[in-house]
Symmetry: C2
Subunit: 300 residues, 2 copies
Amino acid sequence: MLAITILGNNSAIPAFGRNPTAQLLQTQDASFLIDCGEGTQNQISKYKLRRSKISHIFISHLHGDHYFGLIGLLTSMSLLSRTQELHLFGPAKLEEIISLHLSVASVTLSYRLYFHALSGEGIIADTGKIEISCFQVQHRIDCWGFLFKEKKKPRSIIPEMVKSYEIPSAFYEQLQNGADYLTKKGTLIANESVTIEAAKPKSYAYCADTIYDPSLAEKIKGVDLVYHETTYLKDLENRAAERFHSTTIQAGEIAKLAGAKKLMIGHFSSKYESLEPFLTETKEVFENTVLAIEGSCYKI
Amino acid sequence: MLAITILGNNSAIPAFGRNPTAQLLQTQDASFLIDCGEGTQNQISKYKLRRSKISHIFISHLHGDHYFGLIGLLTSMSLLSRTQELHLFGPAKLEEIISLHLSVASVTLSYRLYFHALSGEGIIADTGKIEISCFQVQHRIDCWGFLFKEKKKPRSIIPEMVKSYEIPSAFYEQLQNGADYLTKKGTLIANESVTIEAAKPKSYAYCADTIYDPSLAEKIKGVDLVYHETTYLKDLENRAAERFHSTTIQAGEIAKLAGAKKLMIGHFSSKYESLEPFLTETKEVFENTVLAIEGSCYKI
């Protein structure tokens, strides 16, 4: 199970009640916070999400609208006496920023914070059930996207079938991995007759802030859901390029090139009050598109 | 005219919809922001206050609930193309924090930010109409209170009277400063007969986060309105002392000792949902007390 809840969908300056970027990816055992604009801790409370479930935080880049809420969240977790460790991934300088904030306040966190500086593309975390990798995107400053992939799940055993074939429980793990079973009498029991295939692993790609860059599609090939920014509508293609951002049409193109199943768009400029035109325009290129709406949860 | 609008009245962790500390002191020509907890820029928008009017920002100390919203506000002002200079007062380390945040984002502010490190008690700013001084308070880390005093205002000329005595306009400024006028015929026109006394200058003291400290009263003697924290109710006097905070009774004592005309209490602990007991208890000691309620504006 993967589900993404939007905590903020606006670019730069908060506007029209929209908050800066933050998303919470929920899995069966843990939650991953992706970016953390100012006020994210309040958004987490507002939508009744459990901050204690957050095991990993991923910060794409050091523009304020993606991380100014981080230090507040980290210190609040400590004030609430969190004890379980927390893993934080982001550009190297983020560690210095956090250390400085904590040192001026003479604060020692109540939990262990492991900082992992992003330095190259590839796998950065593996929780056993989810593998997370990062990839570079093209923005004004060092900026990273994140790809979350469920790992292949073991097949499910059909209890009445293993019982009827008298398969010993010691062999269950091999069954779950797809092995056939040879009975003492020499009969081969095909795996398919005693197990069921697990749900297909799902994947989510978060492309952060980026200029239109077709090479991005290769990095997220075949993803189930891709989040791609659409800071501007299509008529502002030049402004988007100047500011290393993208338009609706461009986000749609990337989703198409990547062969993504679904596209979610966000990071809307503060100049727009209505978001509907974003959806309409993006659908011209990629039909299966949704708007990142604050407080909404999208199952993947 | 002095008026204080409360943007946040909670301590440490946001709770019950209450935000961390921030107050906006409005004067005839400019606004002063006092502390700037996370989300202050949203509170400013929510209550339809003009951030462009803010000329000075005062940060009492570097605990997050008093300044985590500052960097977001400063950068938003820049994104909105502010040009007028801004004066920021706070503990010395604040400058390093701001510089680091700006440098990692490769941001140059659109306006001049003058940073003034607080190092000793005394006058730190004088806008011509308001004189601002700082004083040390006793907290876990370096912490400052601020005293805002309107300067003595010139007397107002009574137009029909100066006309009837044929006093030349070149003498008006001296009249406003209280001088009598000697006519060419040698008659002395008493100042009181041609001018009216201006409204009495008002003052506001912001005592930040502090342990109960009677010596504080001396520093704010006779103030019109004093803001004193009441993190805890009276039964938690020991906890308050341990954490360098104050109770309701203690805030009332300080207001009484200082001979303040009015007391405003705030910085309520997240453990309390209802604020009414704070008011009831403080009034046991100092009757003219109000709660700092978010969004409320108190004229001084």
